[in-house]
C-alpha cells in the first residue's frame, strides 16, 4: 500500500483526501473496507521515513487545514525501484493440498468433501466478485481489477476440479483393493 501511495504522488503533489478518492476509484469494491484515516496513517509513516514531505497549502476558506504531500528524492528513487520490481503474489495452494493429503492419509476426513466445501466457498466468493464486476460501469479501472479476481477464482475452481478427479480416482482404487 505504501508503494502505491508513493507512486500516486509521482504525478503531482496531492492532498490526502484526493489520494484516498483515487485509491477508492481504482480499487472499487475492494477498497470499501479502507477506513478514512488509513491513508493519513500511511502518509505519516512515509513522512517519518523521509520519502514524502508535507507542506501546508494556502488555505482555502472552506478547507482551511489541508496539507499537500510531495515526494522527496528518496521517495522518487523508491518509486522507480518499485516499478521495476517483478514480484508476484504466491499462489497459496500448498496448504490446501497438504490438507487433502493429510486428511486422506490419516482418514481424518473425506478429501472429496473437503474439496466440495472449498468449492462452495470459492463459488460464493466468485459470485460476490462477479456481481461486483457486473455492477461496475463499463471501462472502470476497478472492473479490470475485479476481472483479475474473477479469473483467479476461476483458475482455483478448475484446480479444485482437478483435485476432485484425482482424489475420486484414489477412492475408487482403494475401494477396489
Amino acid at each position: 500500500m505504501q508503494d502505491a501511495v508513493l507512486a500516486m504522488l509521482a504525478k503531482e503533489p496531492s492532498h490526502g483526501y484526493d489520494l484516498r478518492t483515487r485509491l477508492r476509484q481504482s480499487l472499487g469494491p475492494l477498497g470499501e473496507s479502507m477506513n478514512p484515516g488509513q491513508i493519513y496513517v500511511t502518509l505519516a509513516r512515509l513522512e517519518k521515513a523521509g520519502l514524502v514531505v508535507c507542506e501546508r497549502a494556502d488555505g482555502l476558506p472552506e478547507r482551511p487545514e489541508r496539507k499537500v504531500y510531495a515526494l522527496t528524492p528518496a521517495g522518487q528513487q523508491r518509486v522507480a525501484a518499485w516499478l521495476t520490481e517483478v514480484g508476484w503474489p504466491k499462489p497459496d495452494l500448498a496448504e490446501f493440498h497438504l490438507k487433502l493429503v493429510a486428511a486422506a492419509a490419516a482418514r481424518l476426513a473425506d478429501p472429496m468433501q473437503l474439496v466440495a466445501a472449498q468449492r462452495r466457498e470459492l463459488l460464493r466468493r466468485l459470485r460476490e466478485a462477479q456481481h461486483a464486476a457486473l455492477a461496475e460501469p463499463a471501462g472502470s479501472a476497478a472492473a479490470l481489477l475485479l476481472e483479475g479476481v474473477v479469473l483467479r477464482l476461476q483458475a482455483d475452481l478448475r484446480w479444485l476440479d482437478a483435485c476432485e478427479r484425482a482424489w475420486s480416482k484414489v477412492d475408487d482404487e482403494s475401494e477396489g483393493a
Binding site: M1, P29, L123, L126, E128, H131
Partner: protein, 246 residues
C-alpha cells in the same frame, strides 16, 4: 415442499441413449425443483448430461423414465403437438450456437415465436422492438445475424426467448461461444432478468456464469453430486482483500 411454487419439477428423471451394451444413461434418476424466481445453474463437465437434462425439462426431449412438471402440469406424458404449444408459451430457449434463422433480421427472429404463438404481426413487432431495446440492440433490429457479433447474436437469441413472457428461460451454454466482454453483457442481462423475478435454468461449464446463479447444481455422469445455495451468503470477502496495513 410446496409443489405449486415450483415452476419446474422433475422426479426420478432418467434418459437413456442406445440399447444393450452400448446403453448410456445421460440423465440418471434426477430429482429437481426450481421455485419461481430462482436462477438455477447446472454445472458439470461436457458429457455429464446437463444439456440433456435441460432438453428434458423444456420438453424438447422425452424422458425414458420419471416425471417432468412445468407450472404444475405434467409434461412428459404430453404428445408432440401439446409439447410444442407448451414450449411456445411457457419456455424460452437460449442455445450455445444461438440458432438464429440466418435469413431473418434480428427483429424478425425475435418476432418468430410471437407469430408462432398466434400474436398479431403488429403485437409481435412491438414486443420484438421493446425486447431488442432491453438487450441494447434496438439500433440493429434490421441487421441479419451474419452482420452481428457473437455477443449481439446471443442477445438477439435471449430477446427471442423472452418474447412470449415465458414461465422459465432455459439456456444451454449461453456463453459457450462468447468472449469475455460478450459473456459479461449476457450475464448482465441474466442478472436483470433475475432481479425482475424471471425463473432461469442455465446449463454451463463456465464457473463465472454458474456463480451468478442463486443456486448451483453440479452434475457428474448424469447425476447430481452437489446442490449449493449461493444467494444471500455474501461474506464481505472482497472488501477484505485489501485490509488495513499491518
Amino acid at each position: 415442499m410446496n409443489v405449486s411454487s415450483a415452476v419446474v419439477r422433475a422426479h426420478g428423471l432418467v434418459k437413456q441413449h442406445g440399447r444393450g451394451q452400448g446403453r448410456v444413461r445421460a440423465v440418471d434418476d434426477v430429482d429437481l425443483e426450481v421455485p419461481e424466481g430462482q436462477m438455477l445453474a447446472v454445472m458439470g463437465p461436457s458429457g455429464c448430461g446437463k444439456s440433456t437434462l435441460l432438453h428434458l425439462l423444456g420438453g424438447l426431449e422425452r424422458p425414458s423414465d420419471g416425471e417432468v412438471w412445468l407450472a404444475g402440469q405434467r409434461i412428459d406424458t404430453l404428445g408432440e403437438r401439446a409439447l410444442a404449444r407448451l414450449r411456445r408459451r411457457s419456455v424460452g430457449f437460449v442455445f450455445q450456437a444461438f440458432h438464429l434463422v440466418e435469413e431473418l433480421s434480428a427483429a424478425e427472429n425475435v418476432e418468430l415465436p410471437a407469430l408462432l404463438a398466434g400474436r398479431s404481426p403488429r403485437e409481435a413487432r412491438r414486443r420484438a422492438h421493446s425486447l431488442l431495446e432491453r438487450v441494447g440492440l434496438d439500433a440493429r433490429a434490421r441487421h441479419l445475424p451474419s452482420q452481428l457479433s457473437g455477443g449481439q447474436r446471443q442477445r438477439v437469441a435471449i430477446a427471442r426467448a423472452l418474447v412470449n413472457d415465458p414461465l422459465v428461460v432455459m439456456a444451454d451454454e449461453p456463453t459457450g461461444n462468447l468472449d469475455t466482454a460478450a459473456t459479461l453483457d449476457a450475464l448482465r442481462i441474466f442478472e436483470d432478468l433475475r432481479a425482475a423475478g424471471q425463473t432461469l435454468v442455465i446449463v454451463t461449464h463456465d464457473e463465472r456464469v454458474a456463480a451468478t446463479a442463486d443456486r448451483l447444481v453440479s452434475m457428474r455422469d448424469g447425476m447430481f453430486v452437489d446442490d449449493t445455495r449461493l444467494a444471500g451468503t455474501g461474506t464481505g470477502w472482497l472488501g477484505g482483500l485489501i485490509g488495513p496495513e499491518d
